[in-house]
């Protein structure tokens, strides 16, 4: 059964304290792994797409990496405005997406 698990469920960091969010997956026929940011009351906002193991993508303080079984979202020197829920999703055959339950990040000034 296709499954996506994110950890931790919640993460509290001090401003400037770097950390990583994990997304592990068990799927057949991976067509891509996606990271989204979701602010309260809004729809998920697309951040990154990763297609193959070893691939990395960066945007400002965020860096996403992919292995054959998991992906990490590294946050370097976070700021309070990085506080949000980060969702991971995998795309499999027939354009199906499976989402994890998200990591709620809170960055304190």
């Amino acid at each position: 059964e296709d499954q996506v698990t994110q950890s931790p469920e919640a993460l509290r960091l001090q401003e400037g304290e770097s950390s990583s969010l994990n997304c592990s997956y068990t799927v057949s026929g991976l067509r891509g792994l996606f990271w989204y940011r979701q602010d309260p009351g809004k729809g998920p906002e697309f951040l990154f797409t990763l297609y193959s193991a070893g691939e990395e993508k960066e945007k400002e303080r965020l860096k996403a990496t992919l292995t054959k079984k998991e992906s990490f979202l590294h946050i370097t020197a976070p700021k309070p405005e990085d506080s949000a829920t980060y969702l991971c999703a995998v795309k499999v055959n027939f354009n199906k997406f499976y989402f994890g339950s998200g990591t709620k990040l809170n960055v304190k000034p």
């Binding site: 891509g32 009351g41 729809g43 797409t49 354009n95 199906k96 998200g102 709620k104």
Partner: protein
């Protein structure tokens, strides 16, 4: 490029009433999804359309939920009758060949 449009943004109804949500996907996106997101959880797929055909509706509670995408463009999701546990955010998303792009969602409160 215009994003995914959804309406209304908020809706409050009493249990056993009916409600409908509307979604207009990104132009040219053949695949359209409706997700239900309960507070603190990830989006849960309700139904997936490819053009005007249903690809997956295995998690749609068909006794009370229905959805259509008659012309392969915009879509409506209906709940009739609503239950308290239907309180959630209903997200519409669409995709071409890459990732899924989401609308702002409709927050439904059933009282």
């Amino acid at each position: 490029e215009a994003g995914v449009a959804q309406s209304p943004r908020y809706k409050i109804i009493e249990k056993r009433q009916s409600v409908a949500f509307w979604c207009n996907p990104i132009s040219g996106h053949a695949t359209l999804y409706w997700y239900q997101q309960i507070l603190g959880q990830g989006p849960k797929l309700l139904i997936q359309f490819q053009n005007n055909g249903v690809v997956d509706d295995s998690q749609l509670p068909k006794d009370r939920f229905s959805a259509e995408r008659l012309k392969g463009v915009d879509s409506t999701l209906k709940i009739q009758p609503a239950k308290l546990e239907d309180s959630a955010v209903y997200l519409c998303a669409s995709t071409g060949t890459g990732g899924a792009f989401f609308g702002q969602g409709t927050r439904l409160t059933v009282v």
